[in-house]
């Protein structure tokens, strides 16, 4: 939908390492990307690919130790937010960056009424009085499609269903009108018919509010329906990045291609046998010195074992705007 807007969030060379008893785990390895105003950026990857850790590190939500954000810059509103203090960061979270987590039951506090939980960011960040905040909270519940909003403010989280709780989470995240909303697998714990409701809600809210959204998921179907641009992560790195139609229509990285082939289709011709990606997802014990997908890749050659591929543009445009891929191999179709 939006194109060429200014970057509201600019991440450069982010590195996050976990110190565990079994040694270091390099969860995020030099990740760079930006998010434009009003854009919905989809982040796809399997568990352990670093997609959640990337987003958690850039807003300082990871406990340290064991996590250690080793390097990089995160520019938001003209400042590098990795360099600012905890207090300032706390003021930023909720006010300028909203967060929606996967499991709405564990992320809402069960002993407080939902009204209080929606009012908390309003009184803390926006300086509203309790009465003002209550009115605004009811508006927000109404906005996310909860009927009888004023009454529902006095309900506890357990009185809501899973889909309704996720709506409450979205209301909290939107409370202070943030520039950036980070949604980490927000529909994974929900049933498909409820997921469809939430996706509709988000599409509607985007048109109304126009904030930029980062949507983390492992479900390529969800991404295809909602994202403007997609980043594919593997082994703590971005292996491919493209506008959504380009990525699904012309995937370049062997991992993206394999991933798209391994999911059975819900319509169209039915395959007799599923394509398999052999082996297990990579766990990075050290900074990568070779391609992290090489052991599972059908196209790996000697260079892949020696050298970690850097992202290179596929269509001549600068990195991050068109289609770029971190792979030494060139698919034949790309030449055509």
């Amino acid at each position: 939908m939006p194109d060429g807007g200014d970057a509201v969030l600019d991440v450069r060379g982010l590195k996050t390492v976990f110190r565990t008893r079994g040694g270091e785990v390099h969860a995020v390895n030099s990740v760079s990307f930006h998010l434009r105003a009003g854009e919905l950026l989809g982040v796809v990857g399997e568990s352990g690919s670093g997609k959640s850790v990337t987003m958690m590190s850039l807003i300082g939500l990871l406990p340290s130790p064991p996590a250690d954000v080793r390097g990089g810059e995160v520019w938001l509103g003209g400042r590098d937010i990795l360099k600012i203090g905890d207090d300032e960061l706390r003021n930023l979270r909720g006010a300028r960056i909203g967060f929606v987590f996967q499991d709405p039951m564990t992320s809402l506090n069960p002993v407080f009424k939902v009204g209080n939980q929606i009012m908390e960011p309003l009184t803390r960040h926006m300086g509203l009085s309790r009465a003002q905040a209550r009115v605004r909270a009811a508006e927000l519940l109404d906005l996310v499609g909860i009927s009888d909003a004023t009454k529902r403010l006095s309900s506890y989280p357990h009185q809501f269903s899973g889909g309704m709780r996720q709506r409450v989470m979205i209301a909290i995240a939107l409370a202070c009108d943030p520039e950036v909303l980070i949604a980490d697998e927000p529909t994974t714990a929900l049933d498909v018919t409820i997921q469809a409701q939430i996706l509709e809600l988000i599409k509607g809210l985007r048109q109304k509010l126009g904030m930029a959204i980062i949507w983390i998921t492992h479900d390529l179907g969800v991404i295809a329906g909602i994202a403007d641009r997609v980043m594919v992560m593997y082994g703590g790195q971005i292996v491919e990045q493209a506008p959504v139609k380009e990525l699904f229509g012309n995937p370049a990285h062997p991992y993206t291609r394999a991933l798209l082939q391994t999911i059975p289709a819900i319509s169209g011709p039915r395959e007799d046998r599923l394509q398999v990606i052999p082996g297990q997802p990579a766990i990075m014990g050290a900074e990568p010195t070779a391609c992290s997908f090489r052991t599972r890749c059908a196209h790996a050659f000697d260079r892949c074992h020696r050298e970690n591929p850097l992202r290179r543009p596929l269509d001549g445009r600068p990195l991050g705007t068109g289609h770029d891929v971190a792979c030494h191999w060139t698919p034949e179709e790309a030449h055509a």
Binding site: S47, G221, G225, K245, L259, P264, I277, P281
Partner: protein, 353 residues
């Protein structure tokens, strides 16, 4: 499947009911029931895979567990290979267990962390055979080969394996006693996308090698389309529709089946941008207090007066297709039955292809 005689129904479920009592008040009086499964009937033919789909809380896992009598059923019968499992005496049930096995959703929780792989896979053999250690070990290695586990792993513990490999251990254990029928309860739900295909292909290979019959319970409608021959769609403890796979996915008849299929996102942005989705309003009602009449009437986009008073029966509306909905009148041939007529029709369909 295409023998001279039509395939027989290995599993016949008739009017299966599974209620969980609710006790409340100071005296813990029995005040109601959660009707997790409320009158479900279907057949599974020898060698076929029946997919059982539905949203969480619809009772699909309860059906799977009740079939293997992991619960004492409230009513109805479950005939597996000639015996009514729901009413067998404990001794007879024990002798019956080797024919029916289960693969569980969470391989982490269903494998004992203090037992080695060999002990886990060998446990059914200890229980049900009088084999000596050597013979057992040969069988354990044989099973590990079948599911693609290296023999070196025999003395390792479950925590040393990845999710996909653990599920292989669970599958090997289910195969140990040469079962005829396996209930696969969300076997791939806990696995990564790139690993799911490995496990599904393994299940398919084993089915063709060993002639297994599967009940494949899942909420992943794309994967069910891949693996199942016929699919049953459940809603709130009842079956909304049972149809052959291709017919269901091409043209779902029951409004719930239609909405469910339309809600599945497709990994294709061009399809997604043009698709009209049926968005169901509200949530699934509580199975402790299901709506009167058709249990889907509170959310159904095509509801009319009759739906609110009269519960629709599961009837055959097209050859091989059974739907519980007032929109579809029953065909005269075999109304109200999911029995032998369907089996022969299914066979005819197969033979035509």
């Amino acid at each position: 499947m295409l023998d001279a005689t039509p395939p027989r129904a290995l599993v016949q479920v008739r009017d299966l009911k599974m209620y969980f009592p609710i006790y409340s008040g100071i005296l813990r009086r029995h005040t109601g029931d959660v009707k997790a499964v409320d009158g479900v009937s279907f057949d599974i033919l020898q060698g076929e895979t029946l997919g059982l789909v539905g949203e969480s809380g619809c009772g699909k896992s309860t059906v799977g567990r009740a079939l293997l009598r992991l619960y004492e059923v409230t009513g109805g019968s479950v005939i597996i290979d000639g015996d009514d499992v729901a009413h067998l005496s404990p001794e007879k049930l024990r002798l019956k267990r080797p024919t029916m096995q289960m693969v569980f959703q969470d391989p982490q929780a269903s494998l004992n962390p203090r037992m080695t792989v060999a002990q886990i896979i060998g446990e059914p053999l200890v229980e049900h055979t009088d084999w000596d250690t050597d013979k057992r070990l040969t069988r354990i290695y044989d099973l590990m080969d079948k599911v693609g586990l290296n023999h070196r792993f025999a003395n390792r513990f479950p925590h040393e394996f990845s999710g996909g490999q653990r599920q292989r251990i669970g599958i090997a254990r289910a195969l140990a006693l040469n079962p005829k029928f396996i209930v696969c309860d969300e076997p791939i739900a806990a696995l990564d996308v790139s690993i799911q295909a490995q496990v599904v292909n393994l299940l398919e290979d084993l089915q063709s090698q060993l002639g297994l019959t599967y009940l494949f319970i899942s909420h992943d409608l794309s994967m069910v389309r891949h693996i199942a021959d016929r699919v049953a769609v459940m809603y709130l403890g009842r079956i909304a529709e049972i149809s052959p796979r291709d017919a269901l996915y091409a043209r779902p008849l029951h409004p719930y089946a239609e909405a469910l299929l339309s809600a599945v996102p497709e990994p294709d942005p061009n399809v997604e941008s043009t698709r009209t989705r049926i968005i169901l309003k509200g949530d699934v009602p509580s199975p402790a207090n299901p709506p009167k009449g058709c249990n889907f009437n509170t959310r159904c986009p095509r509801v009319f007066d009759r739906c609110r008073v009269e519960k629709p029966d599961l009837v055959q509306v097209e050859p091989g297709r059974h739907v519980a909905c007032h929109l579809y009148p029953a065909q005269n041939t075999s109304a109200g039955s999911t029995g032998r007529t369907e089996a022969s029709e299914h066979y005819q369909q197969g033979a035509m292809q």
